[in-house]
């Protein structure tokens, strides 16, 4: 056992704002976001990489924040669901989720949005198989997935108009 818990200074850009904080090594990125920055959009479902409720974008890539240490995110950029809407304006994907009834309890929604968003930024017109694969690490206990797929497909097919 360690007698003293060492602290590490990290500097992380979260939703385009830089935070410099002292953290213990055992703190996960998910705890850091939720408990230090009060960004509670990312949820803890399982804590072990199975459910995707904690999905955030780390340097542009979807990751489970429960399986990243906060110290590992030093010098990295992170996007959480709180940073998606701009000036009160929802993203196309967020609007599509609402319009297609893709949100029930909402526990999976922030993770679903970020997994789908990272797919659409890499591949703006994915087919259904690619969409299914992109959200395969995000479990939803409510919707049965159909509405979520429809919402993402609508954006992929350009059926969701901007503005």
């Amino acid at each position: 056992m360690l007698h003293e818990i060492p602290l590490y200074t990290i500097s992380v850009e979260v939703n385009e704002r830089t935070y410099t904080e002292k953290v213990p090594a055992q703190m996960t990125l998910l705890q850091f976001l939720r408990e230090r920055l009060c960004l509670t959009g990312a949820k803890e479902g399982c804590g072990v990489g199975e459910c995707g409720a904690c999905t955030v974008l780390l340097n542009g890539k979807a990751v489970d924040a429960c399986l990243v240490l906060a110290v590992e995110a030093d010098q990295a950029s992170v996007r959480t669901v709180e940073g998606e809407a701009r000036d009160g304006e929802l993203t196309l994907l967020q609007r599509a989720f609402i319009e297609h009834g893709a949100v029930q309890c909402g526990f999976c929604t922030s993770g679903m949005l970020l997994s789908a968003q990272s797919l659409l930024e890499k591949n703006p017109h994915p087919d259904q198989e690619e969409i299914v694969e992109a959200i395969s690490g995000n479990l939803c206990r409510c919707t049965g997935y159909v509405q979520i797929l429809e919402a993402i497909e609508a954006v992929a097919l350009g059926r969701e108009e901007g503005g």
Partner: protein, 287 residues
């Protein structure tokens, strides 16, 4: 909750090797096995050495001399490489069955091997490709055949002070491979069994490796001779099924019974042989 520990992220290999000599110190790559183990209290290291800033682990090359994959390469970096997909499709086929997109963005190929799970999905393809694991310690580098790297369930051959730098795969242009995995659900799950096969008509070799059916992945011995002797595909298949049933040692666990695993192995060998040798009659060594 994870027990407190010390964290360092060395930029020099020597620094990492020195740190890893100490007791209760573990290397951290993508963390998808280690952090889960720590959270579940199955391992409680005092010091974690993050390997993601060590330049010796960042190599990735595909050439005439073979393929080199460094310890920092994530599974998705491999899946996204078109060149790797063209040169050695069996690797990408296996990668795409592992875990979820989020996990694959972090999890490394080397970490998958180091955990040494009997069900590791990246093991069977690397066994049939005759890969080697390059290990560094303060004494120098060592090249370890992958079969020797796996010592038992979740037990690799590393000793304190050793770190895997990369995996090396010999040239694989003159052969053809297949990877297959059976899991309980259509989505992401660990393998109930996984199987890889590699046939090279030029030198008459046939390598088959079966995972989750023994303490380590099982590379069948005697498959080359069968391949060279068999006069028909059916004969080859019968022979392989017999070899496999003799050499595997599956257990009952939450994923499947030993008997079901044995059954699956024969079914998968049949499918694999039909893909490797599409012609009904012989094993087309001549063509």
């Amino acid at each position: 909750m994870i027990r407190p520990f010390k964290y360092s992220k060395p930029r020099f290999l020597r620094e990492a090797l020195e740190a890893l000599e100490k007791e209760n110190t573990r290397a951290l790559a993508g963390g998808s096995d280690l952090l889960v183990e720590m959270r579940e209290g199955k391992s409680q290291p005092e010091h974690i050495v993050d390997v993601k800033a060590i330049p010796e682990l960042s190599c990735f090359s595909i050439g005439k001399d073979g393929i080199t994959i460094g310890g920092q390469l994530s599974l998705n970096e491999l899946a996204d490489s078109k060149e790797l997909g063209q040169t050695c499709p069996i690797l990408g086929d296996a990668v795409r069955t592992v875990a979820t997109p989020q996990v694959r963005n972090r999890a490394t190929l080397v970490g998958n091997l180091c955990t040494a799970s009997p069900a590791a999905d990246m093991a069977p393809p690397l066994f049939v490709l005759n890969a080697a694991v390059v290990v560094a310690s303060k004494a120098g580098e060592q090249r370890i055949p992958i079969q020797r790297f796996f010592q038992g369930p979740k037990k690799n051959c590393l000793t304190p002070g050793q770190l895997v730098l990369r995996v090396e795969i010999p040239p694989c242009s003159s052969g053809r491979g297949v990877f297959m995995k059976k899991s309980r659900v259509q989505g992401h799950d660990l393998a109930t069994i996984n199987v890889a096969g590699w046939a090279n008509p030029q030198d008459g070799s046939l390598r088959i490796c079966i995972g989750a059916c023994g303490p380590t992945p099982v590379l069948l011995t005697g498959s080359d001779e069968l391949y060279q002797r068999a006069v028909s595909r059916d004969e080859l298949l019968d022979g392989l099924a017999m070899l496999a049933q003799d050499q595997i040692a599956p257990i009952d666990d939450l994923r499947a019974s030993a008997a079901y695993r044995r059954h699956l192995v024969t079914v998968f060998l049949g499918r694999m042989v039909r893909i490797l040798f599409p012609e009904e009659g012989g094993t087309s060594r001549a063509s």
